[in-house]
Every structure is written in C-alpha cells, then in structure tokens.
Symmetry: C2
Subunit: 469 residues, 2 copies
Amino acid sequence: MGVLYSQVADQLQALIQEGVYRQGDRLPGVRVLSRQFGVSISTVLQAHQTLEARGYLEARERSGYFVRLPVQDVPEPSMLKHRSRPVPVTAREMTLDLCADEQKRMVPLATAIPHPDYLPVRQIQQSTLWAARRGLETLDYAFPGKESFRRQIAQRMAAIGVPVTPDDILATNGAQEAIILALRAVTQPGDIVAVESPSFPGILQALEVVGLRVIEIPTHPSEGLSLEGLELALEQWPLKACVVVTNHSNPMGARMSDERKKQLVSMLAAADVPLIEDDIYGDLYHTGERPRPAKAFDRADNVIYCSSFSKTISPGLRLGWMIPGRHMASARQHKYFVNLATSSIPQLAVAHFLEQGGYDRYLRSARQHYREATERMRSAVARSFPEGTAVSRPQGGFVLWVQLPEGVSGTEVYQRARAENINVAPGLMFSTTNKFDNCLRLNGGNPWTGTIEKAVARLGALVHEEMGR
Amino acid sequence: MGVLYSQVADQLQALIQEGVYRQGDRLPGVRVLSRQFGVSISTVLQAHQTLEARGYLEARERSGYFVRLPVQDVPEPSMLKHRSRPVPVTAREMTLDLCADEQKRMVPLATAIPHPDYLPVRQIQQSTLWAARRGLETLDYAFPGKESFRRQIAQRMAAIGVPVTPDDILATNGAQEAIILALRAVTQPGDIVAVESPSFPGILQALEVVGLRVIEIPTHPSEGLSLEGLELALEQWPLKACVVVTNHSNPMGARMSDERKKQLVSMLAAADVPLIEDDIYGDLYHTGERPRPAKAFDRADNVIYCSSFSKTISPGLRLGWMIPGRHMASARQHKYFVNLATSSIPQLAVAHFLEQGGYDRYLRSARQHYREATERMRSAVARSFPEGTAVSRPQGGFVLWVQLPEGVSGTEVYQRARAENINVAPGLMFSTTNKFDNCLRLNGGNPWTGTIEKAVARLGALVHEEMGR
C-alpha cells in the first residue's frame, strides 16, 4: 500500500485523471485537504511534492498548487501481433557492451540494476558481519543450500501462496543460473522454447547457453504474454518449455492477472510443457498486494519457480533460488556439475536479514521509491520525446519500455547517445528478430538528478533529429 | 622444507630406507640424536612421534624407539596402457551419491574435501569481517572480478612464473566453473577433448555439461599424463582441447616435471590444441618448492589456466579464477551469460587474507599436515590390505589411489563399505570406461583417529573377503 502521503497523492491524482480537477485548476488549500483526507498538514505537503514529481502539479509562489497535466498523456506501446518461427539464439554484441567497464562512467539508463542509493547497505552489512562470525558454517559446501536460507525462503514462498519445505529449494547464483538449470532439466539442445517478446535478454542468453531454439510470443505491455499467441505456438511447434516473467516483466513491466496466470498454468499443463517462471521483480510491485506467482496455481507440479535478490538486496551477492518440483534431482545434479554449490556467506547473511524483518522494511521504501521514480521518468519522456512515442506503464520494477515514432531506429539513438556518454538499451537486444528496432529500454530507478533530467531531454532531442532524417 | 622436527624425521626415515638402521634396530638415544642433528631434545621427540605415525618406528616402554619397517613396501599402481575411442560423457550415479546428505554421517574417506580442522577458520573470519565493513563494495556486480582480488592473484601468479596483470584474470565460482568456461571458449558440442585417465570426476562432469566427447589418455601415477599416449591421440583424433591437472593430479597425486610440462605445452601448441590447465592442488606440494604450472612455459598463448581456493582456504567460498589469454572475450561472455559475476564478499575477504600474508602462513602448516596424513594413511593401507594391493605416492594434495589385487571389484568394496557407514570413492567414477573397477580413491587428509584407523582396517578386511570369493 505504501505510506500515508503516497495514498493521498494517489487519490488526488485519480481526481485529476478523472477530470474532477482540470488543467490550470488551483487545488484546495492545505488546511482544507488536511481536513478532507484526515491527515496532517505535513502529509498533504508531501503529497503535493509527490504529485509535482509525477508531473501533475506545479507550485506557484504564494498562490498554491495548480493542476498541470503531463505534457501529453503518452500511450502505452502496442502489442506486436507477429508470428515467428523457431530460431537458434545468438548473442547481440551490444548486450556485452552494456556490462563493459566504460559503461560505469556513463549516465546509467541502460542496465536494469538497482541504484546503490536504494540498496539496504547498512542493514545487509549488519547481517554480513553476523554471518562472518559463524566460523566454520561460512566455509563448508552449502549444497543444495544453507538450511537457514532455505527455511527463510520457504516461509516467504508460503506467504505468496506456494507452500514448500526447505528441501524443495535449491540455492543458486542468481535467477539467471536458476533459469539455466531449469532449462537443462527439461530440454535437450536444439529443442524449441517459448519466451515473451520483447524478452529479458538474460533469458535469451540462457537459451543460447543450453543450445536451444526460441519462439517469441507476442506480449502485451500491461497484460503480459499473449495466451492466444502461446496457444498458436503450442499447436504449431513441439515446445519443450515456456519461460515467462509473470510479474513486472522486464522490459515492459507487465503483470499477468491471477486469471491469466491460471490459464497459462493450465494450458501448459494440458500440453505437458513445463513453465519456467522468473519472479525476480515480484516483490517490487508499485501498488496493491504482492502479486502471486503462477506457481501458486500449479496443481500439476508443472511450474519451475526461479527468483533472486539481485533486484532488491543486491546484485553483488549473486544469490537466487529455485523450486524445481519433480525436476529436483536433475536440477541438483546440474547445479553440482556446473559449480557444486552457492557461496555460503551470502546465504547466511541474507537468511539473517530476512529473519530479522529487515527485508520487509527495506521493500516498503524501495517500492515507494521505484513507483515514483518510474512515474517521474515516464513524465520526463512524455515531455521530451516527439509525438508518436509510446511508453510502458510498469506495474512494478523500475524499467520503462519506450516505443519510438515509426521509422526511428533505437539502435541509431543508442549509438548516438553512447557517443555522448548516455547509456540506454536498444530494442534489438530484447529479441532475436529486428522487430523492436524502434524501441529503447530505460532504467527509471535512478535518483532524479540534473544529469538524468538533461540526459532524458537529450535523448528526446536525438529522437526528434532521427525523425527528421 | 617444513619445520625442524619434520626435517629430522625425514633424515631418519632416509637412513632407515637406505638400510643404515634395519628392522628391529634400536635408535640412538634422544640426547645423542639431539647433538647429532644440532636440535633440541623436544624436536627429536617430535621427530620420533612423526616417524611412529608414518609407521617407521615403534616405542617400547622404558627401552626407546625401535625401527619397524612398514608392513610391506607397497608398490605404486601401474599405468594402464590402453587405447580408447572418444565417447560421450554421462555421469556415474555414484558421483552424486557421494555428495548426498547421508554421506555426512559416514566415515569420510570418499570426497576430496579438506577437513575442517585444517581450514584457516579464524584467519578467514577476520578477513570476512573486514570485507563485510566495505559497505557498497560488497553489493555491486563484481564483473569480471573485484580489482583487489585480481591484483592479489596477479601477484601470486607472477611468483610462480606466470607474469599477468589483473586484467588478465577472470573470477569464477571455483575451478569447476573455470574449466567449463574454458571448454565453452574453445570447443563446440560433440568435439573431442583429451583428459587424464584416471580423471578427476569434476572434469568428466564439465565435459558432460558442454556436451563433449572424451578420449582418455593413460596417466602414470607419479609422472602424470603419458605424452606418448597424447601424441597417439593427436595423430588419430581431431582434438579440440586437452584438460590436465599438472600438479598433484586427483586421484593419483602425480606431478609432471618441468621438462614434461614443457613438452606437453609445445606438443599441444604445435598441434594448435589448447591446453586447459587445472592447478587446484599446486599450492599443496609435500616437499621442495612450489611446482610451476604448465602456463609458466606457455609462449604461444595456448594454455588456459584455472585454479581455486576450494582445496585450501575453503570449499564453501566458491572462489576460483582463470587466465583465459586470447580467449578472454569469449570466457567473459560465457561467464556473464551463465551467472553474470562471482559473489563480491568472498573476493574481498580472500584479497584481504592474501594481502595480509595469512594464506602463506596457513599453507606452511597445511602442507606439513597433508604430507604426514597421506603418509600415515598409506602405511595403514599397506598394513591392512592384502598383497597385490598398490597405493599411489602423492607428491601433493591429500588423496590416495588404491589399486586392489586383480579380480577384486572396487565397486563391490564401495557398496559393502557404504552399508557399514564407511564412504570411499570407487574407481569407476574416474573414467567413462570400466578399466579402474579394481581401484578406490581414499581421502588421506583427515585427522588420524581411532574411527579412521578402524575404517581402514575394515576396508582391508573387506578386500580380503572379496579376494576369497
């Protein structure tokens, strides 16, 4: 739900969007609103600032707050209804460029890595110090994972509708490794696997590592994977697995509804095609309740659940987990073969952090932050980019998917921006086809600074220039 | 080398082996030896105890120490001169059995994992506490590895004849992952790769992960890989890589001489077949100087060096490294694809431990211990097992390779021992063929206890019984 001032801001924003307050209207004074919402004056002031950040209000000195609709109510990207054929996966050069050292000196709008300001640095340090004092416990092989870590994960899984025991959980080096282990457990090289389109590049890389062919399924920017598209693919191709980021999928931030998750699960179970679910953004929902994973609706033990703490506690821990279900023996064997076990110290530290309640406290502020940050970035894109641009409305996480006006190449914009030390992720990275060449992914989770603001404005100018060509 | 009492013990042992003192002779009194060696009386007493442990002396109350030759001077295993054909690798079930939870309650003679008593627990704890206080440094992606870690590794590599910079080093989750990344960099699925025979099971598993075929090259128990065997294989098959544990190879403890390493390197460079070198036991030499790796003789940038701290500092850190040379771009890409980076905290902790000199101090005592422990285990096997048994003389590390009398199945012994809660590694695990079925590998690095002593005696009895069948 978020904190009080944010709830007030949401309600005011709804009133603006519904036209109760219109462009140029002066909002009632703070005392009036304070009484109206039954909150303190300082809460109202915080709500004002929040709406100002989101682009819905402007402050005029000595006059109060006035409604300013975001420059244009920029639409969501459309879903591309394409039909693909299975193809082998080969890496895009640019994917590696994005993680190269030079990137660290650029304006970081490319990678989907949480900003250091929003990591629970001090709290996890306390837990790591606690872990370091465990002596021998930090040094032995943690295969299939530290008991304390797996117990904490089992508790969290139960809370989101997936009742499992610690024995059902395998610790991994992040969700990326979990997805690869899942693919190895259920496929052979050359098999065909269905993924969202646009797709998280890490999933395409996982398919490449295992030597698989991919079929891309059209994906709606807010509803997620097209079930109709998946049905067609199931009829046409002998799929061996389907990999889906069910909650706040990267790059579009789509969240499948419970109803659609249920349909997805039952459709794949009926076809005897395992679902590999990546829930890495599940904890970073912007509003409402923690969305359930598809695994919560899995009656046939046909869903392999994968997740990690790389988008929340820290990417540097390299700590994830999976629930392989009936594929546990195979997943364990592959884990043992590729690197034996996951490092012990991060597992002990995270188990302590979870047990102490630090993670839940951290999530409350992180969700609030990411919600506002992506909203602000969305407004900034709407202001700076030309008409014809569409931007996703992510329901969680911190990335935005920008569809540029027809004919503008995201790759061109990426290269020109890069030359000016602005790093964005070009749409080509998110598919094996060229169909997202007119798209960009932006990291909307950074603290809002003059540098970021200028970078977004400059990107908009570059798109304008590219349009004119 | 080693400490003083151990040098005295070595010299006395040499005198016994050369026949200066014979079976049943009484050694000169402690005062005489103290003067003779120019050491204190307590040093002489420690040397006596060491030789008693090694099986060369027995104490008789009030009479002093008497020479007792080990029951039999057990020979080394013979080298099997076989010719193999390339075959796909598939895992032996028993390999996974060995890492199963039940194993923890058994007498641990199977796994090649260092015993907790000989890990630098307190020192690494200090370094981990130091690392935990680094704050943000512990939380960001360490790709391709923490600078401080790679700098320390570069210094150590230079000291063993491999001058590299931190940029030449890639941090990995142990040597197992490094070997897989190296194989991915230089092979395609289906390619043929040469390995030692018997081979470390982890290397066979790495080949299986990458989908390769293996050709096994005969290996001498003290001289290592047969260069003649390799030459034949190079003539006959289109090898794409050769994986060799050059120093104290697991399971036999063989060390290739510098001369043979040079030949290996130049033979493979001439054939344009990359050498993947696993030097994980290099720091655990029993006598003399730190042996150089083959990489030290690599003029053609044809050797990919892999190592880790899993046999020394701790297996639970999951921390290794590789020097991919001209294959760096490919190795980096594969590392990024499989799990993005190696956990930051272990890298910071180990960098601090190395920088403070703790690792070198630790190694001095660990080497001494493993040397005496394997010697003692060797004597115990010699006493308990029937004639016709052969045992390796490892020059480093802590495992022993036992060749049972002809016709005795190591797998039978393994299964019967397992039923009595004694865990050993059956010879079948170390090959894709059945040619080492009459072998066992024993972990000789445990502290010597009554339990271990009884277990070895019981193993000997089981082998006697199997002979009688």
